[in-house]
């Protein structure tokens, strides 16, 4: 396990104007593992994602990816190391087509530059057609119909397809660590079940990929995660299998209330 871990944090902490949002959190994830991150509202889950992707700089602690510290690196560099994410409130570009949105995930792999864009259309044509084939194969993993909708603005798609495009965009980066932030938010139960299938497919596609998934819905967590970490008030309060964590008293207190429920 120790040798196989791809990402870990060391005493990760951040505070905003005196409020401690993440408090000495240590998490790690092995290659090919799916780690569930749970906790009530405001327990620091999304903040951890924002730190990992370089949007926030932690006030204390460090985090490592493939043995290298990413502390203080700008978001684009962290992305290029192989960490991709989705956002809780979808941050797709709604005016752009599905294809364009997926393309941005391939951004840094393109050799093409401003001068080439103007003068070397043949190079561009080759790259675009290769990228499009790849985008189509990614999209069709999720929903064959999405391929037909590739030219449609994302804003015109239903919520679940937007979520799929977002995951495709992240997958287009060929990441080795994928961060999913509440992928089921705003979906019906049926849609959620479909989406869980999708995420499983992602794993099957590339066995090496590690996923950290933030969720409040335990059904999702239970069905796909190998291991669960529970947070409360920015601290890690439990870690283990889904079963273990959901029977942990502190977790039950955090969710159900201090006195707990008689079962």
């Amino acid at each position: 396990m120790e040798n196989n871990r791809i990402f870990w944090t060391k005493d990760l902490s951040i505070s905003f104007g005196g409020l401690v949002a993440v408090d000495h959190v240590n998490i790690d994830i092995a290659r090919g593992e799916v780690l569930g991150l749970i906790g009530p509202n405001g327990s620091g889950k999304t903040t951890i994602f924002n730190i990992i992707t370089g949007i926030y700089t932690p006030t204390d602690g460090d985090f490592f990816f493939e043995g290298e510290s990413l502390l203080g690196k700008p978001p684009y560099e962290i992305a290029r190391k192989g960490i991709a994410r989705t956002f809780q409130i979808s941050r797709l570009c709604l005016d752009l087509s599905v294809l364009d949105n997926v393309f941005i995930g391939m951004h840094y792999r393109q050799k093409h530059w401003l001068i080439d864009a103007v003068f070397r259309r043949d190079l561009l044509a080759r790259e675009v057609s290769e990228a499009r084939d790849r985008a189509f194969s990614l999209l069709s993993v999720f929903n064959k119909e999405l391929v037909g909708l590739a030219g449609v603005p994302v804003g015109a798609l239903p919520q679940i397809d937007r979520r799929r495009v977002e995951i495709c965009r992240a997958m287009a980066m060929e990441p080795r660590l994928l961060l999913l932030d509440e992928p089921s938010a705003g979906m019906t139960l049926e849609e959620m079940t479909e989406l869980m299938e999708d995420i499983r497919k992602v794993q099957e596609e590339s066995k090496e990929i590690s996923i950290i998934i933030v969720e409040h819905d335990m059904t999702v967590i239970r069905s796909i995660s190998d291991r669960v970490v529970a947070l409360n008030y920015g601290r890690k309060i439990a870690e283990g299998t889904c079963e273990e964590v959901s029977h942990n008293t502190e977790v039950r207190e955090a969710y159900l209330g201090k006195r707990g429920i008689k079962i």
């Binding site: 797709l92 752009l96 364009d100 941005i104 401003l114």
Partner: protein, 410 residues
């Protein structure tokens, strides 16, 4: 199915239809310029509104026309270019309108630069006129002081405007939204005040007698005598302007239809998301800001040679406002929108000289009404379509193999 559609949209009759539509629009445009009085303007505006309304109610017709033009793109382009080349012949009798068209062309070039910043990348720049001034004064001073020829002063103006962008590099990266608007506004006012007060820019008198273009001994101040018709001297400027518009326009279109375009759109829509996908947002912002200002500076340099006399009021804030309005009204991040915008906002107000007194008032009111009711402009941003490029790539691959093409037919 798509193939069938394709076939039904081509053929000589369809080509003629496409050209016919273009000729009608062209004729209306020329009539607007050449017919005296303001009545024609009213008639045409009503016609335009009626056509827009009709097309809005009949989306099927609209898509049909779009497909028609897409299928006959080559004919449409050739027809359009021919008509553009012929403009001086039709307006030979009124050089004034040729001049106005050249001005519109210059605004188009500048606004394409502004569109890169404002429309494509979402960087607010309320100081395009200041960069226009940098280009104009650079060209003017070089030509007056050292007698440099146009083929040096034009690029020099562009490059100088690009270099001047560096003054705003740090603010451009550090501020966004309202604050960036204020930074550029302040810059705009600083430039106009300085132009007014500095001696070496001629102060309020500006620069006079800037030599007109002269390339390889041929002065642009000579009429073109073709025997059967004499084109006014402005025709020289017109063709050079057309060349520059074509170059800048094609560059803009190509940037838009490329990875770079996708990258810029993502920066515009969501900087944070762009960063988490590996986009070096800051680098792109600086490149685009400078490049956009180069286009604006190029237009400015041309302007100073065209009119021969420049002074600070030519580059005041209201010019910036007009340029920004061109981009917004035409349609952000849409090259054709910018074309339409500069035609409407530069040529129509000239026609409105009939109602001279009220034209800026009308302008202000139209701007407000448009922004409230059609904030995305007349030709809004449309999702990119890369299929042309993909087709091109496929064809190239298909030539040696030959199998794919056959498959396509089957």
């Amino acid at each position: 199915m798509a193939d069938e559609n394709q076939r039904s949209q081509t053929g000589p009759l369809k080509t003629v239809t496409v050209l016919g539509i273009e000729v009608v629009i062209y004729a209306l445009f020329l009539a607007l310029l050449l017919m005296p009085g303001g009545e024609i303007l009213i008639v045409e505006v009503l016609l335009l509104l009626a056509a827009l309304f009709y097309l809005r109610r009949n989306p099927a017709l609209r898509t049909q026309i779009q497909e028609l033009f897409a299928a006959n793109a080559r004919a449409a382009w050739i027809g359009g270019i021919a008509m553009m080349l012929l403009v001086p012949f039709f307006v030979a009798s009124s050089p004034y309108w040729l001049f106005i068209i050249i001005i519109a062309g210059l605004f188009l070039v500048a606004c394409l630069g502004l569109n890169l910043q404002l429309g494509s990348t979402g960087m607010v720049n309320l100081a395009p006129a200041a960069f226009y001034a940098v280009g104009a004064y650079t060209a003017g001073l070089l030509a007056l002081g050292w007698g440099l020829p146009a083929w040096i002063t034009l690029p020099a103006g562009a490059i100088m405007a690009g270099l001047f962008s560096a003054f705003l590099f740090i603010p451009v990266l550090k501020t966004t939204g309202h604050y960036l608007a204020l930074v550029t506004l302040a810059f705009q006012f600083m430039v106009t005040i300085l132009l007014d007060n500095m001696e070496w820019t001629g102060g309020p008198q500006g620069l006079k007698n800037i030599p007109l273009f002269s390339i390889a001994g041929y002065s642009f101040n000579t009429d073109i005598n073709l025997g059967f018709i004499v084109l006014p001297a402005y025709a020289n400027f017109y063709y050079l302007m057309l060349l520059i518009v074509a170059a800048v326009g094609i560059a803009s279109l190509r940037i838009y239809n490329s990875w770079v375009g996708v990258t810029l759109s993502t920066i515009r829509d969501d900087e944070i998301a762009a960063q988490t996908f590996g986009v070096q947002v800051n680098r792109w912002k600086l490149i685009i800001f400078s490049l956009g200002n180069c286009f604006i500076g190029l237009a400015g340099a041309f302007y100073s040679h065209l009119v021969g006399f420049i002074s600070p009021p030519n580059f005041a804030f209201d010019k910036s406002l007009v340029m920004v309005s061109v981009v917004i009204l035409g349609g952000m991040d849409n090259v054709f929108g910018v074309v339409l915008g500069s035609l409407l906002l530069i040529i129509l107000p000239e026609k409105l000289r009939v109602v001279q007194e009220y034209r800026f008032l009308i302008y202000g009111v139209v701007l407000i009404v448009m922004l409230i009711f059609r904030p995305r402009g007349l030709l809004p941003f449309k999702p990119r379509d890369f299929s042309d490029l993909v087709e091109a790539a496929k064809r190239k691959r298909a030539i040696p193999a030959g199998s794919e093409a056959a498959e396509g037919r089957a």
